[in-house]
């Protein structure tokens, strides 16, 4: 019983740690967004917010201020202390519920997200809250719940622009979920191939299966489809139909203010961070350092963390993983400040007429390729088909 | 001149035929048909001086053969026009049959440019500080007929500025264009010749004769007359630019002469009062004292709040208290000649609802035989016409005092009259309940139980009947203090409070419809259609009353109906 209690306590502590990391990553993504936007536009970005005390430290303090390090704090405090309006015409329950629904799935999905590895004796184990077998399904399932926040929020606000935002969002999310789900099938086919043992749908196994080559390299089209769908699922430009400031004022969150808006806002960035992490895991080899091309003697290249002591290798793998993730977060912003928004019909056309068929073709093509690969190189290990 | 009204002749102005009265001054004749002849020195009410030369026009008559008297025809068979070789001043000419005028010819234009150039030689270009700017004839004609640029490079004359001609008139000599209107006014109209020109040539200067000053009660008319900013009113000087001011037609309440005025206000503040031309009442003149009357609007002793027993109250509380007080015992009313006809009519309606004797005070003072009569109220005759008065009132309210002493009157409803001044001692007044409706505080208001503030003549509209039995309208010039109602509305409210029925504020046209039916002299009068120059009423019923007014400029104290008037000049 004591060990169970201890287990629970440790899990809770880990969970809190995860939440803290993800939330601060989301918060700093907001800062990153503002910085990237300003850089692209030839500006400097937030560089004024100072924290009393720390900013008084010579050299370092002003530098941090210049980087805008304290800006997310100021933003958060601002969200907290702003007047919290509750418009008279809204459906109060759903109006208040929607921001929570928007944030919770994003935080839930991180439960099955491996962020690094450590050595338990000789066995490589993932740094993860729950190493479940159905990891990717879990992420897809909860990711798909995120749409409710937007739909309910847009509907509960009971006014026309939020409503349009909500309607657009639901259609867009459903369309791209399909393409997204199908684009990862080749990855799973590969991960569950004969070379990789009995992997299942666990994300850790997917990372392990990419030591030879990152899947993004030889599955560029599924990777691309996944990335595009990811942009659509997180409502990022060029797919931010639910918000589309130019036509819908603020889209689904037009009627929201203060901390409720803040939840939507942070939820979007949390989605973005988690999405980037998932992409890294699925197509970019997770925390694998560099591909080793399946050559045994080069194994140290793909997994140098295993050779290090745990106290060094574990954190390094996490840091490397976060680094890769942050690159994709940056890519999100880079794309946002480069591409214009699609028209709604273009979004639908792209989703249904190009991405879904493309993903289907990829599934078939990679199934054949992997099947042939198996026959050619690992025929004897292929599971026999019994009656 | 009497027959000139009917005797129309045809004259030709710039090639167009116009029908104008025979023998009319050419400037006026042209103005009556919409052709402007610029002029400075000419004024329709003054003698012709002809010294500004601005009204130069080309004149001609149809040619006739001297010997035979036959018309001289040109090749087309049209009678030739014999144009005068030089231009002539229009102001010194009169219309005659067949007269031909050129007001827009090159010669005329050149003449005007020349005159303007001479006038501007020494005229300072200080329009920004000149109070006349905006209504300055020189400014207007300089833009309309001037050359547009100056050829004058020498130093301008320096003349005295800010000369005090009199207590109310300031002269800026540099601006004077020597039109002599003011001199002629003092001479001919005011009959107080104190102004004259000294020095010669370009040093010609307007001054008062030694030992005199321009202190007549009509001195400010010279300011109105002055076509430029030379003569300015010391009161109005540098107060406000005239283009901001909105003129509203009103009637002077100084005396029963009923001088027509224009009240100039901006954003609810009155800045000056000027006479409004009415050839049947005041021509274009006005007394200085009447021009200062606007100060009463913002006077210190102005009443602005309803008071019941000395405490501030709402209008509802005040009217309720009025009803209570009026029901305690016999009521007497003290009306006033300061009330408009409409208000007097409403008072009559009140007196019918709550019967009581109506008293007036006859305010008599000095008259000047011109535009200030001996009766110091503008509308005593309204009281007669509305039936409040049967005969002329006394100067003092002795009858009411006697009644008070005997205890026959418990409540007095007083309309702006100072009862203490009217001969009722304060101790006696304290025995009665006094309901006072008035605009300013006085000895009586200290005693009154209910004080109801009213609007001044500038803040309400209505009509007065002047000494000639001429019904004249005045319009609201500025909004009254917040919360105050016109006296007609107040009376309507009191009546409805007493009767216990619903209150609606009566409008003047409404009241006039009632009065037209009830009062013989008002039959057929519509408020909206009372002309700007007033409407003469049938005064035969009051012909025998001994009014105190003496002969004025347009008034004969007639035993005969007052309508027949003879022009003083």
């Amino acid at each position: 019983m004591d060990s169970l209690l201890l287990d629970i306590v440790i899990k809770v502590i880990f969970a809190l740690l995860f939440v803290a990391v993800i939330m601060s990553l989301a918060a700093y993504s907001v800062l990153g967004e503002r910085k990237v936007a300003s850089w692209i536009q030839g500006r400097v970005g937030p560089n004024r917010t100072a924290l009393p005390g720390i900013s008084a430290i010579p050299v370092l303090g002003p530098q941090l201020v210049k980087l805008g390090i304290w800006q997310p704090l100021a933003d958060g405090v601002k969200f907290l202390f702003k007047e919290d309006p509750l418009p008279g015409h809204v459906n109060k329950l759903y109006y208040c519920l929607a921001p929570c629904i928007a944030l919770v799935p994003a935080l839930t999905t991180m439960v099955v997200l491996p962020v690094g590895q450590y050595m338990d004796g000789d066995v490589v184990k993932p740094i993860i809250l729950a190493n479940v077998d159905i990891g990717i399904l879990f992420i897809l399932a909860f990711g798909s719940l995120g749409v409710y926040g937007i739909v309910i929020g847009g509907w509960a606000a009971n006014s026309k622009y939020p409503y349009f935002g909500g309607i657009r969002s639901s259609a867009q999310m459903i369309s791209y979920e399909l393409a997204m789900g199908m684009s990862i099938l080749p990855v799973l086919i590969w991960a569950n191939g004969p070379n990789s043992g009995l992997a299942g749908l666990s994300l850790f196994n997917i990372v392990e299966s990419q030591q030879g080559m990152w899947l993004g390299v030889w599955m560029p089209i599924p990777a691309f489809i996944f990335l595009v769908s990811l942009y659509a699922e997180t409502n990022r430009l060029p797919f931010d139909m639910p918000e589309s400031e130019t036509e819908l004022v603020g889209g689904f969150h037009t009627e929201y203010g203060s901390f409720k808006f803040g939840l939507f806002f942070v939820g979007e960035y949390a989605h973005m961070v988690i999405g980037s992490a998932v992409f890294t895991i699925l197509f970019l080899g997770g925390w694998n350092f560099l591909p080793d091309f399946g050559i045994e003697s080069l194994h140290w290249l793909s997994d140098p963390w295993a050779l290090m002591p745990n106290w060094l290798g574990g954190p390094l793998s996490v840091i490397y993983f976060i680094g890769k993730t942050l690159f994709f977060v940056f890519l999100f912003m880079w794309v946002r400040w480069t591409l214009p928004r699609f028209r709604y019909d273009q979004v639908m056309t792209l989703g249904w007429k190009y991405l879904v068929p493309g993903a289907l073709i990829c599934v078939v093509a990679y199934a054949i390729i992997i099947g042939l690969w198996d026959i050619a190189f690992a025929i004897d290990q292929t599971p026999a088909i019994v009656e | 001149m009497a027959d000139s009204e009917t005797n129309l002749v045809t004259i030709n102005i710039d090639g167009n035929e116009h029908s104008v009265p025979n023998g009319m001054n050419l400037v006026d004749a042209c103005e009556s048909v919409g052709v402007e002849i610029p002029h400075y020195c000419y004024h329709p009410k003054l003698s012709v001086a002809g010294n500004c030369r601005m009204c130069l026009v080309e004149m001609g008559m149809p040619m006739r053969d001297r010997a035979t008297g036959e018309p001289v025809l040109d090749d087309d068979g049209v009678q030739k026009i014999g144009w005068m070789p030089k231009p002539a001043i229009a102001c010194a000419s009169k219309t005659m049959p067949g007269l031909h005028l050129k007001t827009k010819s090159d010669l005329t234009k050149e003449c005007r440019e020349g005159v303007m150039e001479f006038l501007l030689v020494n005229h300072p270009l200080d329009c920004p500080i000149c109070d006349q700017a905006g209504e300055c004839r020189l400014q207007e004609f300089a833009t309309d007929y001037g050359r547009g640029f100056s050829r004058y490079v020498e130093e301008k004359n320096v003349k005295p500025k800010r000369t005090k001609l009199g207590p109310r008139v300031t002269l800026d000599d540099e601006r004077c264009i020597l039109c002599s209107r003011c001199v002629r006014f003092c001479d001919e109209i005011d009959e107080n010749p104190v102004l004259g020109f000294t020095e010669r040539g370009s040093y010609n200067t307007l001054t008062c004769f030694p030992g005199t000053q321009l202190d007549s009660n009509y001195s400010l008319n010279t300011v109105d007359l002055c076509p430029v900013g030379a003569l300015t009113s010391t009161d109005f000087r540098f107060k406000m630019r005239v283009w901001f001011l909105k003129p509203t037609p009103s009637i002077c309440t100084e005396s029963s002469a009923g001088v027509n005025t224009e009240v100039w206000s901006r954003e609810g503040v009155i800045y000056r009062i000027t006479p409004r031309r009415n050839d049947l009442v005041n021509d274009t003149w006005m007394a200085d004292t009447g021009r200062a009357l606007y100060h009463q609007v913002e006077a210190e002793n102005r009443m602005k709040s309803f008071r019941v027993d000395g405490n501030r109250a709402s209008i509802g509380e005040a009217t309720q208290r009025v009803r209570e007080l009026m029901s305690v015992g016999p009521v007497a009313y003290v009306g006033s000649g300061q009330m408009s006809v409409e208000e007097q009519w409403m008072l009559r309606k009140l007196a019918e609802v709550e019967p009581g004797a109506v008293h007036f005070v006859y305010h008599q003072g000095e008259g000047d035989d011109r535009l200030i009569s001996k009766d110091k109220t503008p509308n005593l005759r309204g009281g007669l016409l509305t039936g409040l008065l049967k005969t002329l009132p006394e100067t003092h309210l002795h009858a009411l005092r006697d009644q008070l002493e005997k205890g026959e009157v418990k409540t007095i409803v007083c309309f702006g009259e100072d009862l203490v001044k009217a001969g009722i001692g304060p101790d006696l007044l304290k025995k009665a309940n006094i309901i006072y409706l008035g605009s300013h505080r006085n000895d009586t208001t200290d005693i009154a139980r209910v004080l109801i503030p009213t609007l001044t003549v500038f803040e309400r509209s209505g009509s007065f009947v002047n000494q000639q039995f001429r019904l004249q309208k005045f319009a609201q010039c500025v909004p009254g203090p917040a919360g105050l109602l016109p006296t007609t509305a107040l009376l309507a409210r009191i009546i409805s409070e007493i009767k216990g029925d619903a209150y609606t504020a009566p409008s003047n046209p409404m009241l006039w419809r009632e009065m037209g039916l009830a009062i013989e002299q008002f039959a057929g009068v519509e408020f909206a259609k009372i002309p700007a120059t007033g409407l003469e009423l049938d005064s035969s019923a009051f012909a025998q009353l001994p009014f105190v007014e003496e002969k004025g400029w347009h008034y004969e104290p007639a035993a005969e109906p007052a309508g027949a008037e003879s022009s003083a000049h």
């Binding site: 399904l137 409710y148 509907w155 009995l198 028209r343 | -």
Partner: protein
């Protein structure tokens, strides 16, 4: 612990399912339905059917109900008048419901009910498992293996059935006018 969770989630499922039927507001109904699905997913979790639980959330809560909600919001179902069912419908529904309940009771408690036996031990996928000896485990791989081997035919038939349904829906929803032609496509301005 497991019992407590079972009762908790069953209560959640049943209660929200009940609320779906009685709630007047269509959006409320849809939300309760989602709650009901989530509750059911939790029950699947208690049965260690993780794959099924994830699919339940993914397909029903994540996709189907979003479409439902989409339609409900689009039609503004709040304003729909409440229809009082006629007598026949009430009788039929009552009879049908009673039959269903009695059937369920019979199956659960009747003589032919499945005996209350221990469930087979569900284990982790052994590390050394090969294709031949994949046991029945909680792992999705074993699930997939079963699907493509033992239950191949039902799986294919179900898939075919779904395909037919899909084609049927498309055919029905495509309006074809009397002449047999498809209605002219609306021109979309090309930007």
């Amino acid at each position: 612990m497991a019992d407590f969770l079972f009762f908790l989630f069953s209560a959640l499922t049943v209660l929200s399912a009940f609320l779906v039927t009685v709630s007047r507001n269509a959006v409320n109904g849809a939300m309760f339905m989602i709650l009901s699905f989530v509750g059911m997913a939790c029950l699947f979790l208690l049965l260690e059917a993780y794959f099924l639980a994830a699919l339940q959330v993914l397909v029903y809560a994540g996709a189907v109900m979003v479409l439902f909600l989409f339609i409900v919001m689009l039609l503004d179902a709040d304003k729909a008048r409440s229809v009082r069912p006629d007598r026949l419908t009430i009788v039929a529904a009552t009879v049908g419901g009673l039959m269903l309940i009695s059937g369920l009771a019979y199956v659960t408690f009747g003589p032919s009910a499945a005996p209350s036996t221990e469930l087979p031990a569900i284990t982790e996928m052994p590390q050394n498992a090969t294709a031949e000896n994949i046991p029945f485990t909680t792992a999705s791989r074993s699930f997939g293996y079963g699907l493509f081997t033992k239950y191949m035919l039902p799986f294919q038939v179900t898939g075919f059935l779904l395909l037919i349904a899909m084609i049927g829906v498309i055919v029905l929803s495509k309006k074809i006018d009397a002449s047999g032609d498809e209605p002219a496509k609306q021109k979309v301005a090309k930007s």
